[in-house]
Amino acid sequence: MAEPKKYDTPLLDELEKGAFPSFVTEIKRMAARKPMAADLLGQLEKSYRDKIGYWKHGGLVGVMGYGGGVIGRYSAKADEFPEVSHFHTIRVNQPSGWFYNTEKLRLLCDIWDNHGSGLTNMHGSTGDIVFLGTRTEELEPIFSELTQGGWDLGGSGSCMRTPSCCVGPGRCEWALYDTLAVTYQLTMDFQDEMHRPPFPYKFKFKMAGCPNDCVASIARADMSIIGTWRDAIQVDAAALKSEYIDKGTDIQSDVVEMCPTRCMKFDGETLDIDNANCTKCMHCINVLHHALAPGKDRGACILVGSKAPIVEGALLSSVIVPFVKLDTPKEGEDPYPELMELIEKMWDFWGENGKNRERIGEMIQRIGLGNFLEEIEVDPIPEMIVHPRTNPYIFFEEYFEDDDEAETE
């Protein structure tokens, strides 16, 4: 291996100052012994000087048998920075909840130290472990070492993208279903969809254990599965008194007046919740967590269709199933049957009707939620909307013919 080149980086050096850990320090650490990292540093310094990026559009690179998991990248200044002429990234499917042990993590480091720049993103925005920068010829060896070590690639292109989830039952008292298990199940059930592009465009799953949505699923998942409950909030009156009332928490202004439906009353002693009007926003529980807890009838709300703005404007996911039980399957049971059926129906319909590069949410915007529901055989209910239509432009599907009394389609 060639010696790493040394570059003067007065601009990037400025980014090693200050209290927050610096990515420049990381690049330099690798640049000390890796030519690719060194040339990255050099090219980046040039970008900082010229105020422009120097990467070209990616080409089609990947590992055999897979249609995704690698993002091809080539330098536009390969003459100047030959070591980054190839600078592909590899997406490695992270474990549910981003839990690791050091053994498996060191294994990843070793593979990447041997075959790439030694730089990573822990993690990419979708959730993958991102290996930043390698050459085309290294892809197969990396892949082979990864799989032998028990790892696999994540998604890219028009695939199911790597599902991700909040820490959930791993450490959070508010996990209203097992986000880790559901994420693993979806990842494993749909390996084919993740690795071989079957869709009009990408499809992302994100699993959040409760409405706090610590994985931002409602904003950036084609399917957002968010834990919720149906029954009454559990109140531990003794804890409410000892932990909050006695300690002077201003329950009226901090909690009662911030409840979106104002469905609580507090008389200085008892907190009275009108649970029929509670919209499960979590606020009171968040604030009074030593005393309040979600109810016992737990499950999830399924929402569909969020995405970034390109090109029809950003979308948030919207309710398709207000509540579904997602109990951990018992031995011999099919896991999450309603969820799985819904996914199949949605994918079938989108697969046939989605335009090229049209996310499922965009398709729903185009054809209308009502039609979409009909196609996936889900009954329309008012929980799915903010309010009924305000315009009178109804496409009536049946009318009476003059000569008959039967409605026709």
Binding site: L15, Y48, I52, P169, G170, C172, Y184
Partner: protein
């Protein structure tokens, strides 16, 4: 390609997470009862069984070298029986099962200035961000650099001072918004301001019909220049979205003079109190000024100050602004309100003020 096609292993998926759960987690999986945030970077969770798990969170620049990861592993081996995790905002979490190892871990972390403990509770956690000049062809600005500059300026809210509520900051380096900045308290978004240029060799690289139809505003028309088939762009109809560049590499928008930063405010994703909200435009354009982007950090700090001075306890940025009104927000921040702030996209009409509910 692969030397040993016979042995090829595929579709095995990631390791099962249970392998990575500390024993205390495995035993109490789904049976957590409560938590307590002890300092902005240290908390514990207690299970129904009474078992406790302490977590120490440290900042990460997200770009981590394998050597750094090994350092982190060393610490986890020493204090956490080898268990750790990362968060959805890319921080590192040391999972301490044995409470007696908490202080030693903290002491070790404090020895290395790279490790900044914090990010929990009502403060500013790490900035969700994207590739920028480090890896992406599409970027209108760098990602990691601005993140570093902003976090340097606001790190007291990461590790010490508390805020009325959480401020979630995100950055994306182009309109593709890989950082999902569209729902953040403060969003930093790279924008192009100049319509694409047409490379001479476009006809060799791009499909002209695909290119024409990629434009959401219909600004691209087929054209013939010097006898070559190419396209032309109606600049008045172009909003520099770069969708054409995504499908056609010969239409670059990247431009040192005209690329820069826009700032957005008031989004959120949690359902706590109010429903999730999109971020809204605060500042349409700030030129790129590397390496420290002082105008951007000033703008962010200014907005944070207005938030601190005006938000009620637990109120997020967008909730505060809705309470005080957008006119007041512009007034308090001194940000100029322009024509660009007024929506003119698909649902623009729904953002016009259709009542007399005004403050004077």
């Amino acid at each position: 390609m692969a030397d040993e096609p016979a042995k090829k292993i595929t579709d095995i998926g990631p390791p099962h997470y249970s392998e990575f759960l500390p024993p205390v987690v495995k035993e109490n999986l789904g049976k957590w009862k409560d938590h307590e945030i002890l300092t902005p970077g240290i908390m514990y969770h207690v299970a129904e069984s009474g078992a406790k798990l302490h977590t120490v969170r440290v900042a990460s620049p997200r770009i981590l070298s394998v050597d750094r990861i090994r350092d982190i592993c060393d610490l986890a081996d020493k204090h956490c029986e080898g268990y750790l995790r990362f968060t959805s905002r890319n921080n590192v979490e040391f999972l301490v099962s044995d409470e007696s190892k908490l202080q030693p871990l903290v002491d070790d972390l404090n020895k290395d200035p790279f490790f900044v403990i914090g990010g929990m509770g009502n403060g500013i956690s790490n900035i969700v961000h994207t590739q920028g000049w480090v890896h992406c062809h599409s970027s209108a600005t760098d990602a990691s650099g601005i993140v570093k500059c902003v976090m340097d300026e606001v790190h007291e809210y990461f590790s010490e001072t508390r805020l009325p509520g959480k401020i979630r900051i995100a950055l994306a380096c182009c309109l593709n918004m890989c950082g999902a900045v569209h729902c953040s308290d403060i969003a930093i978004l790279g924008v192009h301001r100049r319509p694409p240029r047409i490379d001479d060799n476009l006809n060799k690289i791009c499909e002209i019909p695909t290119t024409v139809s990629s434009c959401p505003t219909g600004a691209i028309r087929p054209a013939t220049v010097d006898g070559k088939e190419t396209v032309e762009v109606d600049e008045d109809a172009c909003m520099s979205c770069a969708n054409c560049y995504t499908v056609c590499p010969s239409m670059p928008l990247n431009d040192p003079l005209n690329d820069g930063i826009s700032i957005w405010v008031g989004g959120k994703v949690s359902n706590a109190r109010t429903e999730p909200k999109f971020s809204k435009l605060a500042i349409p354009f700030i030129p790129n000024n590397p390496p420290r982007w002082p105008e951007v950090t000033d703008a962010v700090k200014n907005i944070i100050k207005v938030y601190i001075d005006n938000a009620k306890k637990y109120e997020r940025m967008g909730e505060m602004i809705e309470r005080i009104g957008w006119p007041k927000f512009f007034d308090l921040t001194g940000i100029e309100f322009t024509k660009y702030h007024i929506d003119d996209f698909k649902h623009a009409g729904t953002t016009y003020k259709t009542s007399t509910h005004l403050r004077y």
